[in-house]
Symmetry: D3
Subunit: 140 residues, 6 copies
């Protein structure tokens, strides 16, 4: 069974690949490369997969998931400027793809400590706006 839970956070960013000339940045990112930045309300859906515990009738303790997501994701990214306050984005552009990969890595790092006996982290979906979303699924 797969259990999914949603979280929200907001952040600002400016899309810019440091390794590319400005003309390329303008062409690739359009108005998202405005030097003063802009922002989004991100929706993060975290999905875990595992068996249902026969005593508790639960796949995982949602309160523990909340603690994990708050510590690994929300406290780092909520109400932040991704370019200036997240070291991983001092060079790499804070696209939603890169942000999703960073969130995935952070969740993977802390997952085993919070859920040593399962379930697995199966998927994350990061919704940048109501139109665009980005998913990472576990390797199978």
């Amino acid at each position: 069974m797969r259990v999914s839970r949603r979280y929200r956070f907001c952040a600002s960013h400016r899309l810019r690949a440091a390794a590319l000339p400005e003309s390329d940045n303008a062409r690739i990112y359009g108005k998202c490369s405005n030097p003063h930045g802009h922002g989004h309300d991100y929706l993060l859906e975290v999905s875990a997969e595992g068996p249902v515990d026969c005593f508790t009738g639960r796949v995982l303790n949602l309160a523990s998931l909340d603690v994990l997501v708050r510590r690994a994701v929300l406290e780092t990214f909520d109400h932040r400027n991704l370019n200036l306050e997240i070291p991983e984005f001092s060079e790499a552009p804070p696209t939603s793809e890169n942000l999703a990969r960073l969130i995935w890595r952070r969740l993977v790092e802390d997952w085993g400590q919070v859920f040593p006996a399962g379930p697995r982290l199966a998927r994350i979906r990061l919704e940048e706006t109501r139109r665009n979303s980005f998913e990472i699924m576990e390797e199978e």
Copy 2:
């Protein structure tokens, strides 16, 4: 092709594992173990998978799916107290995980009679609130 259709029902429940002491129940379920119960509006999405019929251009008859879901799910659970009115939850706690499994079993039981020549029941998704959802996918 996968076809999905949404249904809604509301029910009340109290989360409590009969086999565990009260202190464990309070710890595991928090305010969801309030003895007087509380309730939710559940959204159920049922997904069927199969080929498109070349004459009708349909994967399945949605009116037949409605009859099946109404009989197997809505008539049993809508406007009910899950603990007091659903025998399966006299012992097991009516978590959304257990509720999803029960709905899956009931749909599987009746599916072959309503759709003897396909399509397959591929997935159900039970949304407890806008934040939490629970999915069961067919074994592959």
Copy 3:
């Protein structure tokens, strides 16, 4: 300017007018009068009206509104059985109309203490399901 903020809570209830015979209850409330109860996820939108403070650029402090709504509404109604745990509904049926009126009275009672210098409580909207909503507006 009018500022609105949304809150969610879930509760169970059974619709039943104590002063009416059972046959009338069944006719008026239909499956909502099931003796074992059912439940809903309520959405409450609270709207305040007042001038924008020229220093802070705000109509009201949203953190104060959160404290007020949590104390006057959420702590009382969230994860509760309205019939058994709310004294006002020991006799009167816990319809969404009556629930909205009770929420309104509780907010009005505490409002002046939290916002002595304005803004006014202008409106509440209680959404029982995505289909039905109930609004109370201040007398003008």
Copy 4:
């Protein structure tokens, strides 16, 4: 990584299988076979899958996807009568299943020209109404 983007278009149609007698059409499609037609606002979600480019931090250029979807789908179907203006539906009934298959074929045809070096078209989801949706996933 999978990237998904949403588009909207509206169209009218009448469900009718030309190869079947009228009585069968009425039985299969119900009020959807009304000879004068009716309409829907369709939501189309297109999902692409591929690696994240290490310079741009993107899986694909969304502006290119917009051009592709506009040319292959929106210009053809938006504000159209599917039965009268889409040759593929002069015989086959314009069910959402058939419409999804036609959209899939059109996207596949143009995909390689717009994205010669990847990513792959992984999935489309066509939402006919908020209740019904239709998905096609790439063969694996």
Copy 5:
């Protein structure tokens, strides 16, 4: 207290003012004047205003409202071609403004018979798409 309830129906139409030359129609309505028509999923929200009955705790009987809306609105407009099947639109263009006015008139006509002792019809809101909505409020 104001009580609101939502209904859905779908219909097709073509925007065209019979009294105007084709060039004006094209200029005013753009692609909405395509002669073969297109369609929408309309959402109709009906709001009634009145006191809460002290016995039943209700402003109105929602089942009676359902009967009224089904008879006065849904049976007439759902799954229809507005231009060809609604006499009022043989001349006047079936814009959402005109459709809202027609729905309002029909509700007003039947309202007194279904709710002779109140509540009043206070407002309707017709949502053509998620972007555009049209409201009529009672004269005060």
Copy 6:
């Protein structure tokens, strides 16, 4: 009749009242006063009120409204840093209240030129997140 149409834009900001000491800023705005800023996806709903034209069946030309809103609002605010790129916010804090007032003033300024013969600008609603919204209504 009131006609409403929705627009979206995203921007970043930092809440800070220049006239107040930093300790007050931290207390009033909390994490919203983070010096590096954060961002939101704003939804703007613009409502116009007027009679329905008997020839066109419309209250206003939506294409003209789009031009007006794009020029007066979207081009100025979309993908911008409100503090650094909007002169009005070099001193005043870019709260949603102040942003709504600025949008209202800009719409009022251009309205008469685009709609000299009506309808009136009746209301705007600015949704900062799904939880918080801010409305300005015309003086009556």
